[in-house]
């Protein structure tokens, strides 16, 4: 089976978010970048499936050279080769167009990615790629098993989950608990250095909805502490001040 996993290169979940250049650019000062946590689940499941069924696992990122260490980490975790589409990921449509082009060229059976990136949180790329390629797309997928050409999945819905069956090829946006995150071991890290990382050019420049300006939420006021022996005071505040009861 040929598996493609698309990963994002995003600020670590503990990062303090700040902007520069008159609030038009993300401030990378002191920020550590990681594989998107949801993408990490997709990658972990893909490694398991590749080990089960054989075949080849390719990781792809749309990004500039800063993404290379993130792709190397994915290779260390177990991907066989990496592709970087050398372009800034401008919006969901732009990224989906790149992925759809290279996915078609590669003829993959299964395309996995995270349910959403943790920077822009759109959660739209998998569905767009599916529609462009005429493949079914599913998200957020929390369980995925392949039996021959049949794929059995569980998709999270509000307050529960639905079980699905579909056939390959397909696309899934993944989330926990589809697999446990994999930590690269020394052998993986060594072999990642020599695995191929191919840089290719963007196939289209078209964008549809680009971010132009960023804002931070207003600072939160100080907490009002209420004595633990006077919970009635909290009820009063919720009723009369916050007016939420």
């Amino acid at each position: 089976m040929k598996i493609l996993v698309c990963i994002t290169h995003v600020p670590d979940t503990t990062s303090k978010i700040q902007f520069t250049d008159n609030n038009t650019k993300f401030d990378t000062t002191g920020v550590q970048f990681i594989i998107g946590p949801y993408d990490d689940y997709a990658l972990a499941r893909a490694v398991e499936l590749r080990d089960q069924t054989g075949g080849k696992l390719t990781v792809l990122n749309v990004g500039l050279a800063e993404s290379d260490p993130t792709l190397r980490k994915a290779l260390a975790i177990g991907a066989d080769e990496a592709i970087r589409v050398n372009a800034e990921p401008k919006d969901s449509f732009f990224v989906a167009s790149q992925i759809a082009h290279y996915a078609k060229e590669g003829g993959y059976d299964l395309i996995l990615m995270g349910r959403e990136s943790i920077d822009f949180n759109g959660g739209m790329v998998h569905g767009m790629v599916g529609e462009i390629l005429g493949m079914p797309s599913f998200s957020p997928v929390m369980k995925l098993d392949v039996e021959g050409s049949t794929v059995k999945m569980a998709r999270e819905i509000e307050g529960g989950k639905e079980m699905l069956e579909a056939t390959l090829p397909l696309i899934a946006g993944c989330q926990e608990p589809i697999a446990e995150w994999k930590i690269p071991n020394m052998r993986g890290i060594m072999s990642a250095r020599t695995k191929p990382l191919n840089v290719v050019e963007a196939v289209s420049e078209e964008t549809q909805a680009e971010a132009t300006q960023y804002q931070l939420p207003p600072a939160k006021g100080a907490v009002k502490l209420i004595d633990k022996d006077n919970v009635g005071e909290l009820v009063k505040l919720l009723k009369n001040e916050a007016k939420v009861l």
Binding site: G130, E131, P136, S139, M142, M163, L164, L245
Partner: protein, 322 residues
């Protein structure tokens, strides 16, 4: 001209988040002179219930009652909404963010060549171009997004607008959809859903417990408080990781993001990943015995004290008041 709203329903009722989407479209249509609001509903649901969507500001509801659409098959829904879009002659589609809504919106965007903005938090600014404010970095920031296409899709976040409730009943029109076999290439074999509970992503009040609850056997206290408040229950990531509570209750960066008017956190320290899932809440109450818990910095009201002592007392005080 019209704005199309894709509405979802469950248990014979139109979802409240969909009514918010209709309210949003109603306000948007008034702002951009896009005419009336037409909603599209798919699958089996009563016409009286659909007419009630008028209260939120829809003039008309197109109802494709084909039973194959009753289950939320993503591709089939995307095809049906695209056909409604053509029929109505709309330029804009509004929908509420949800598990199904997101999946449908992404495919629809390609079908109708629309610029898509997700997590929209307020009406677009049309003073120069078409700028949409959306929540990014899991609620830690906002981005103004310039939509460059003629057709547009806005997937709105909960609480983006006030719910409109004073509209006249909508007219309900049946709507024939032509669906191909390929639209049903996937099959939903079964659904497991908590019934009779308030759904976490849609709740106005959420009560969550963390590791400070010491074990799943102590969740009765959380549930009692939630019941008094008419709230949904949630939990922190460690709690769902160790299996005290189901995954769909996990609130946080990689779990459910909630936007209630009131969020009550009990025995949760407030790791930045948890805060990312709750920072769109209007008011936050934190109950924790550790005065240094980082959650207090993000809270509006706090009680430093043992949950096992404070929560039952709070529940009694609320019961007396409500």
């Amino acid at each position: 001209m019209a704005i199309l709203v894709y509405i979802e329903h469950a248990g014979g009722k139109v979802k409240k988040t969909s009514l918010e989407a209709v309210s949003f479209a109603n306000a948007l249509a008034a702002k951009t002179n896009e005419g009336e609001v037409v909603a599209v509903a798919l699958g089996a649901i009563g016409d009286d219930e659909l007419a009630s969507v008028g209260s939120a500001g829809a003039a008309k509801v197109l109802h494709a009652s084909d039973d194959r659409l009753s289950a939320g098959v993503i591709q089939a829904h995307a095809s049906a909404v695209a056909q409604a879009f053509e029929k109505v002659g709309a330029k804009t589609v509004v929908l509420a963010k949800s598990s199904l809504g997101d999946a449908v919106a992404a495919r629809l965007a390609i079908k109708i060549k629309a610029g898509l903005v997700s997590n929209v938090v307020e009406l677009p600014d049309t003073s120069s171009g078409y700028q949409v404010k959306r929540s990014i970095y899991t609620g830690k920031a906002f981005a103004m997004t310039a939509v460059e296409t003629e057709n547009k899709i806005l997937a709105i976040k909960k609480n983006a607008v006030d719910l409109k409730t004073d509209g006249a009943p909508a007219s309900v029109e049946s709507f024939e959809v032509s669906l191909a076999d390929s639209d049903f290439a996937s099959k939903i074999t079964s659904t497991e859903q908590a019934t009779g509970e308030i759904l976490l992503p849609e709740a106005d009040i959420v009560v969550s417990g963390g590791r400070g609850m010491k074990g799943p056997e102590n969740w009765g206290m959380i549930e009692d408080l939630a019941k008094t408040l008419g709230a949904a229950t949630g939990c922190s990531k460690p709690v769902s990781d160790i299996g005290w509570r189901p995954h769909h209750e996990h609130v946080g960066q990689t779990g459910v993001k909630v936007a209630p008017t009131l969020y009550v956190a009990i025995g949760i320290s407030g790791a930045i990943q948890h805060l990312a899932g709750v920072n769109s809440s209007k008011y936050i109450v934190v109950i924790n015995k550790d005065p240094e818990a980082p959650f207090f910095k993000a809270a509006d009201y706090g009680i430093v004290g043992d949950a096992f002592e404070v929560v039952p007392k709070l529940n009694e005080a609320l019961k007396a008041e409500l």
